[in-house]
Symmetry: C2
Subunit: 265 residues, 2 copies
Amino acid sequence: MAVDAHSRHVDPGALRAEARAGRFAGTSAGHCPGFPQANLVLLPRSLAFDFLVFAQRNPKPCPVLEVLDPGDPEPRLTAPGADVRTDLPAYRVYRDGSLVGEVGDLIDEWRDDAVAVLIGCSFTFEEALVAAGVPVRHLEHGVTVPMYRTRVDCVPAGRFAGPLVVTMRPIPAGLVARAVEVTARYPDVHGAPVHVGDPGALGIADLDAPDWGDPVDVRPGEVPVFWACGVTPQAVALASSPPWMLTHAPGRMLVLDFPNERLRS
Amino acid sequence: MAVDAHSRHVDPGALRAEARAGRFAGTSAGHCPGFPQANLVLLPRSLAFDFLVFAQRNPKPCPVLEVLDPGDPEPRLTAPGADVRTDLPAYRVYRDGSLVGEVGDLIDEWRDDAVAVLIGCSFTFEEALVAAGVPVRHLEHGVTVPMYRTRVDCVPAGRFAGPLVVTMRPIPAGLVARAVEVTARYPDVHGAPVHVGDPGALGIADLDAPDWGDPVDVRPGEVPVFWACGVTPQAVALASSPPWMLTHAPGRMLVLDFPNERLRS
């Protein structure tokens, strides 16, 4: 997460151009402050209806920022002129629910019936937390936020069903209410927490053993606070073993063109 | 809109049971205060993906409250146990984009590939306006809110494209800001206004000649305030001449089971 200020991209279009040219394959986290970054899920059109209904029923883990027309690689509303086949630093390719490779672009993988769904990412509300004086531990440590599979089931839709995945940030008890207030203003990037304290109630046995990302310490006087996570739709989609599915590689997101402020409710 | 308090339903389930039994075919407006009411659009599954994408791209006129599984008539999340085929007071049937009839239930019209989409309705925020001391003229006069086709185009999606439809409420100038604040809290029932003042900028030539509903007077010291309207998705869907489409009859909505407060952001 820690990006040398010297090498930090500030312009979304410039970062995307570097990714498109194959000169930037690293994490997009920490780049382009002030602009949202999006999770990417690509599915065949035959599965896209069920996926959109799943997202509508589970808006906290699956806030949809844009749905592209079938076969169209341009996010005309959120990043006009960009191309989801080339403008992310790296991608993952799944077949029948199994990861078969990580690639730098999707030109060879593209299909005419591909539907790209852009899903909000917590980077936006983390900037707002920091600006509001709420410390964010994994950013301080330059690691990836810890993520956990819970025993809370999402509302199923069609062939998609599975557990809610959450992120955890340890928050000083006196700042928990502020953290809720600040993130609640950003419903399209997961919004307010889904749970405050008591990991056991979510079925999380050990905070030190996240299912994805890196563990961070919860210090005395801090409360573990849990937000719905954009890994949920990926995990749920994969669990249904779709014949074909493409996503961004972890931390390699699509940087969008409008200011974070537009996501504030 | 004016409902005799004597005959007003207060319980959503009771109103739906009366509608199901064929004993209630009137407007649902004014009944069940405190509970949301939903616009209903039923399309074949082959068109439902495009319709959901249209709604995602146009959330102010098309806030989706629930999408039912194909062939499923039960709104399991917003009115469990209800049946969209029978529990609304009246319905409209369209073929190839033309109105072919108004019916009391959809039992004969139902198809296994029917997808029901429930769309938020401004009744919820009108209750909040009145509670906040903002007068709502058409409610005072017991008429239907005036609606206008604008020259603002919605963002198209697949085969769906067309103009934004708005409602107009005249608001005293000193209460316009409050009206914005109050309605902005309810994004799933159209939210904040899309336009304040200057009907000409929306392409509305004559406020006294609405395209749907009844005209209301705008008095000295009042500003015409325009909100996105749930008639938009119906108008846009019809303009694409779908082979089969069913909707609620105007003012005959589905009353949902959860309190309005849950829609407040």
